[in-house]
Symmetry: C2
Subunit: 144 residues, 2 copies
DNA sequence: AAAATAATTGACAGTTTTAGTCAGGTATGA
DNA sequence: TCATACCTGACTAAAACTGTCAATTATTTT
């Protein structure tokens, strides 16, 4: 029941992006240094984040990435969806649902996992990037 | 964010055990046939379930496994703990907590995962084996 | 006591997923 | 045109997952 580092990194990078967002776009190189994440790995993630409509890219010198919309409108579950990490605890509920549990269409434990998946989704959908950024700002203040 | 089959199988086997529990112990061979899970894999799981205090073993002919206590007293999260599936979404909260996220003791997204882990635990702790078994009985009735 | 049953243990292997790296290509602005 | 920065796809080492196999030990029935 571990979240992949892909999802963890994506969320962390987005917070970092939003924290340091000024008038100019933020380069991946900068995020890479701040968060100590491999640049090439970040590139992979941001391709998906852009396709997911979470960020927009700005090319050329002085370019980088900016939020595609207001931070308060970006939910955490959207970020995770974009990097293609499933939030469903069992495979039988996936898009191409294949469940090997039993010969019957649904096994007896199906509803438990369904409930669990719904809770996870609900929790992550209840938090926005703006929330996380505000929390991060507070924490930085405390550490000083 | 996928639950391992180990955890899925363990819960399913426990429901099956409880469903078919009469006066005599239930053998793993029987569960293996009912649920179509490899016998040797079940053996691995039940060693851990026994050590976790979920079931008791009865050896010899006519032996098998019985619940160590009433089904209403067995929570789903206990079953999953017994087979050593972590319910925590990130490694930094594990017992031997090692977090590679950042040089600081806690990264900005730590609290999100902490909250998520707590929700997962809470949900699974709110359901008992008795609940699942009752649900399974109803479902079987409907299918008939 | 002997045989049959069933649990118990530990080692092992094939497959899949993860967590990245590497090498190059393409678009943009100065 | 040249530096910057994004974009793409192939590739890989390591870990985890999902089991299997072989052998042993304990208990009950005959
Ligand atoms: S059918 Fe969905 S968990 Fe078994
Ligand atoms: S320190 Fe726990 S998630 Fe980063």
């Amino acid at each position: 029941m571990r979240l992949s580092t892909k999802a963890q990194y994506a969320v962390r990078a987005m917070v970092s992006l939003n924290l340091n967002a000024g008038t100019a776009p933020v380069s991946l190189r900068a995020i890479s240094e701040w968060e100590d994440i491999s640049l090439t790995y970040l590139e992979q993630l941001f391709v998906k984040l852009r396709r997911g409509g979470i960020v927009d890219s700005v090319r050329g010198p002085g370019g980088g990435y900016v939020l595609a919309r207001d931070a308060a409108q970006i939910r955490v579950d959207e970020i995770i969806d974009s990097v293609e990490e499933s939030l469903v605890p069992v495979s039988c509920m996936e898009a191409n649902g294949e469940c090997a549990c039993s010969s019957d269409s649904r096994c007896v434990t199906h509803s438990v996992w369904q409930g669990l998946g719904a809770r996870i989704r609900m929790f992550l959908a209840s938090m926005t990037l703006a929330d996380l950024t505000a929390e991060a700002r507070q924490q930085i203040k405390i550490n000083k």
